[in-house]
């Protein structure tokens, strides 16, 4: 007898058109969020806040009540949603430019206030939707359309290590960085995302996961090579791991 071991999560919209580029990790990240919400049986009680960038299309895939925030303001809007409806599960799905550049103040202050929110941040070291410009997480040496000779320290300064910064905020209950380059790492990513939702559900504070992701189109790489880059170039700079978890000892 055949057993189904893999299926589309129930909370996916029917006939949703997949608009991410081939090899982009957004698809895996969205799926993990969907699986976690489904396992926690809280999709019907959840409100998503989608931010500007490729991440905004989350509402096209997940059949959730969703609010679109201006660029950088996702965690301010999520704060408003949660303060108005404290019983709802509220999360943001953002890119690194949204979370850590234009929205750094909103992100840090949501963490500092200890808002009971979950924030998922896709770090692909570039601005994807606008065509691959230098972002807050572009690593030293990386060539982008606005760092044509590579990001050098003298000219552009340092990239931000988001998960470490968010871990420093007293209101943060959980902060982790994960990657999606291998199956074991995808499993770890799911665990982290689940934890970031659980701390919210328990009212413990801000839950955060930074997901190292590919952007094959703007990196001008095949999907395979893109995952090699995640391992070889990104992970030495942005080390995966749990940076804060107040539920552990």
């Amino acid at each position: 007898m055949a057993t189904q071991v893999f299926k589309i999560p129930e909370i996916y919209r029917k006939n949703a058109k997949y608009t991410f580029c081939p090899g982009c990790d957004h698809g895996v990240a969205v799926r993990l969020v969907a699986e976690v919400l489904e396992e926690m049986k809280c999709a019907e009680n959840t409100i998503a806040v989608c931010s500007i960038g490729c991440s905004v299309t989350l509402y096209d895939f997940l059949n959730l009540d969703s609010l679109e925030a201006p660029h950088g303001r996702a965690l301010a809007e999520a704060t408003g949603v949660k303060r108005a409806k404290p019983d709802k599960i509220v999360f943001t799905y953002q890119g690194d430019g949204d979370f850590a550049s234009i929205g750094l103040a909103e992100s840090m202050h949501a963490a500092l206030r200890g808002e009971n929110l979950t924030a998922i941040c896709i770090n692909n070291t570039t601005y994807g939707m606008t065509g691959g410009q230098l972002g807050p997480t572009t690593i030293l040496g990386q060539v982008t359309t606005t760092s044509p000779t590579g990001r050098n320290l003298e000219y552009y300064g340092y990239p931000i290590k988001i998960a470490e910064h968010i871990a420093l905020c007293d209101g943060t209950a959980f902060s982790a960085r994960v990657s999606l380059d291998t199956v074991p790492n995808i499993r770890k990513a799911k665990q982290a995302i689940k934890k970031a939702f659980e701390v919210q559900a328990k009212g413990l504070g801000f839950g955060f996961v930074e997901i190292l992701s590919t952007c094959p189109t703007n990196w001008r790489m095949s999907p395979d090579k893109a995952h090699d880059r995640v391992r070889e170039e990104m992970m030495p700079v942005f080390k995966p791991g749990v940076y804060k978890d107040i539920t552990e000892g």
Partner: protein
Amino acid sequence: MAVDCLTDKKVLIKGNYAIANAAVLAGCQCYFGYPITPQSEIGEFMSGKMQELGRAYVSAESELAAINMTIGACATGVKAMSSSSSCAVSLMQEALSYATSDQLPVVLVSVMRGGPGLGNIYPSQGDYFQATKGGGNGDYKLIVLAPSTVQECVDLTYKAFYLAQKYRNPTVLLADGLLGQMMEPVTFKPYPYPEIDNSDWALDGAKERDGRIIRSYAPLADNQCVFLERLYNKYKLIEENETEWEEKDTQGADIVLVSFGSTSRNVKTAAKILRLKGIKAGILRPVTLFPFPSKRLQELSNTVKKFVVVEVNMGQMVYDVKLAVNGKVPVELVHKPVGAPPSPEEIAKRIEELL
């Protein structure tokens, strides 16, 4: 100053406290703000009162955050507001543009001070353009209500919440530093408007229905065309139904003085002075700045010889009056750049000079 102001007795109260009180009485569940003179009393009052009532107050990290938090709360269907002033309202323009597109009932109290830039904390009407023409991108309108007394600060705060809900459109209460800081006797009556059912659009979790999306992103041009037509049909409806103004002695008047907000108080007295001198002067005071009483001004231009617009700025509303009158009769401007409105005597004198 507390919510127990709900009494038949008159209370002497500062404009900013009156607005905050009225918002609480209107059922505002969430307040988000960042301090700026001359409206800080609103946030100060709200910080204590909202906590006491089990409602939400957040000291936002910026006005950008404050107005976006307001959007977030409004998206869930509760009444929510922010308040700010001039240079800080500038920071909110992006969100106001989004809120019109999202069709969310955001209420913003804008207490004008001197500008441009940091300007000063004196009263001003220099943000007429900011409120009525918008500083955000794209085609949109905010409903704008302009109180002229502290009592009206209360009544129009109620109305701001009602109209915002009724039309799902951001609504601005446009006061100024004078109204915010002055004390006047006020009666707080209960919120007089019906509650609007928002169960067909508010975000409360997709239970036994598809997930709702509140969005402004319209990747296809055709969709945006349809949306904007629909949005502007709504604005037309607002113009037809909600245009409000005060008018006095315009029957048989030779000149009509047009002014709004705190300035209109002295303009009323100036009109009296002029009439005592035998000059047939009437007044028209727009209460709603959008929708603007253009039709009424147009009608009056058939019988009136001249309009004089009086405002505390370099001349902003005067353009809307000129548009309405459309060259039929002269429209003159009597203005003061910033500060308390010119005295009735000065206004009367300057108008006499124009005749």
